[in-house]
């Protein structure tokens, strides 16, 4: 099993969710985060003084998948989240040692 992690632009979340659900993903977790890569932040003004804020609001998605599906899910996310403008985000894949469904105690692939 794998954990697909994606950082995407907040307004792209619905598109990504639809794309992975169409693939067959049944669950995911979303967290609101801030971050930056090569996209710089923005300038805020307070009483005429300008402040550079490096962090940009993003959304992190985490999706547990079977090994065989990881690559395809990552591709779907990438297509759905891309705008072509700087700050589109990244997708990466982590190995997962074990998963348990809390309600039933099912483990492994049965828990996905």
């Amino acid at each position: 099993m794998k954990l697909v992690v994606a950082i995407v632009k907040p307004f792209k979340v619905d598109d990504v969710k639809t794309a992975v659900q169409d693939f067959g993903v049944q669950g995911l977790t979303m967290t609101e985060v801030q971050g930056f890569g090569r996209q710089r932040g923005h300038t805020e003004v307070y009483r005429g003084a300008e402040y550079t804020v490096d962090f940009v609001p993003k959304v992190k998605l985490e999706i547990l998948v079977e090994d065989a599906d990881a690559s395809a899910v990552a591709d779907r996310i990438t297509e759905a989240a891309r705008t072509g403008k700087i700050g589109d985000g990244k997708v990466w894949v982590l190995p997962v040692e074990g998963v348990v469904r809390i309600r039933t105690g099912e483990a492994g692939s049965d828990a996905l």
Partner: protein, 412 residues
């Protein structure tokens, strides 16, 4: 003779001015960082509790009792002589209503200072400060200006609703306190932007609304003068907002919502002494001039190096001084026969302006010196002093001072 119309209006006005204290609380609270929002709210709300009770016990009496020129007496202590008007006031409302109406002014004046001291003052020390300050600084100045027996009132200085008593007083007092407590860690280089400008704007709206009670209520009657004061109040706020926003757009490159809100408040401050003494387009001129001046005045703290966190000095001190002095130019007896004529009115001359300058000067000196002394003493006597420790300042005062958290969004 009690007039029911006058009484009904001043009853409402008292409630409107009361509402300004929570309004001010949110005006400031929105501008501080989230970790300190409850502390700012508490410092303001607590004034409603402490000052009200002290007012009943002794402070009203010190402000309005007797016939001495400098200070009141104990005639009205413990709400004694509840139905006797202060000497020289011909009231058409019950004296107890006058007492209550004036109470609301006494509550909000120390609350104004909280904006300057944001993010770094211990609550207990602040409470001591408010209690002593309202008795030693507010009450005497109120006596000088509002009580007909007071020496500034006798000299003919004009202050319709408290430009000197409330705004110049609190403004210079704020400066005195920030000198004692020093700057916030990281000021002026670390960014400390407002955590909720929506709260600030809500507060601004409440202040503008309440100010109709502050200024028009000071007519103490439901008559043409109250209406003039209401019109003046509104027009000055509007013009000052425009003045600030235009100045900010041209000088700073953009119009900000904080600027619009601050501009409106500056205009309200400036018109406070003038509200029942000017007419025509004067409030628009007064507001516009003040909006522009105060926009530039908020930069004083950077030039002079004092951390007036939320610009109490730039808006209330400067706005109050500008309004009090502009009154010396725009005052018109045609608007209020009990007033005087200013420089711009035929037959006016510079006499009134001189009295205004004296009233402002006396307020500045007395308030600054006494506030400095009170703050300094409290800093030495109260355990820990006025200022919070370094770790509190870093972590946030809400948790350290009150063990409370403002925003708990995680469902638990």
């Amino acid at each position: 003779m009690i007039n029911t119309g006058d009484t009904a209006w001043v009853l409402v006005a008292a409630a409107l001015v009361m509402f300004m204290t929570p309004g001010l609380a949110f005006f400031y609270a929105g501008m501080v960082r989230a970790r300190n929002v409850l502390t700012m709210l508490m410092q303001n709300f607590f004034c409603l509790g402490l000052v009200s009770v002290l007012w009943a016990i002794v402070v009203y009496s010190i402000a309005f009792g007797g016939t001495n020129r400098l200070i009141g007496n104990l005639d009205f202590a413990w709400l004694g002589h509840f139905n006797t008007a202060p000497h020289g006031l011909a009231l058409t409302i019950p004296p107890s209503l006058y007492m209550t109406y004036q109470l609301m002014f006494a509550v909000i004046t120390p609350a104004l200072i909280t904006g300057a001291i944001a993010d770094r003052v211990r609550f207990g020390a602040w409470a001591w400060f408010v209690g002593i300050w309202v008795l030693v600084v507010y009450a005497p100045i109120a006596h000088w200006v509002f009580a007909p027996a007071g020496w500034l009132a006798r000299r003919g200085a004009l202050d319709f609703a408290g430009g000197t008593v409330v705004h110049v007083n609190a403004g210079i007092a704020a400066l005195a306190v920030v000198i004692v407590i020093g700057r916030r860690r990281g000021w002026p280089h670390a960014p400390m932007p407002p955590h909720s400008l929506p709260l600030t704007l809500l507060g601004t709206g409440i202040l503008w609304f309440g100010w109709f009670g502050f200024n028009a209520g000071s007519a103490l009657r439901a008559d043409g003068l109250a209406v003039q004061a209401l019109v003046n109040t509104h027009m000055a706020a509007a013009a000052a907002m425009l003045g600030w926003v235009v100045a900010e757009r041209i000088h700073g490159g953009r119009a900000t919502i904080l600027g619009a809100a601050s501009g409106a408040v500056a205009g309200l401050v400036a018109i406070t002494p003038c509200a029942g003494y000017v007419g025509g387009m004067s409030p628009i001129a007064i507001g516009a001039i003040t909006g522009v001046i105060c926009y530039f005045a908020v930069n004083l703290k950077f030039k002079l190096g004092f951390d007036d966190a939320l610009d109490v000095v730039g808006v209330h001190l400067v706005g109050g001084i500008v309004g009090s002095l502009l009154l010396g130019f725009f005052a018109d007896k045609a608007v209020n026969g009990a007033g005087r004529n200013g420089v711009f009115v035929h037959g006016g001359g510079f006499g009134l302006l001189g009295e205004q300058a004296l009233a402002v000067g006396a307020t500045l000196v007395y308030s600054f010196v006494m506030t400095l002394a009170i703050a300094w003493v409290i800093d030495k006597v109260v355990p820990g002093g006025l200022r919070v420790g370094e770790e509190s300042e870093n972590v946030g005062l809400d948790l350290r001072e009150h063990s409370e958290v403002a925003y708990s969004f995680a469902e638990r």
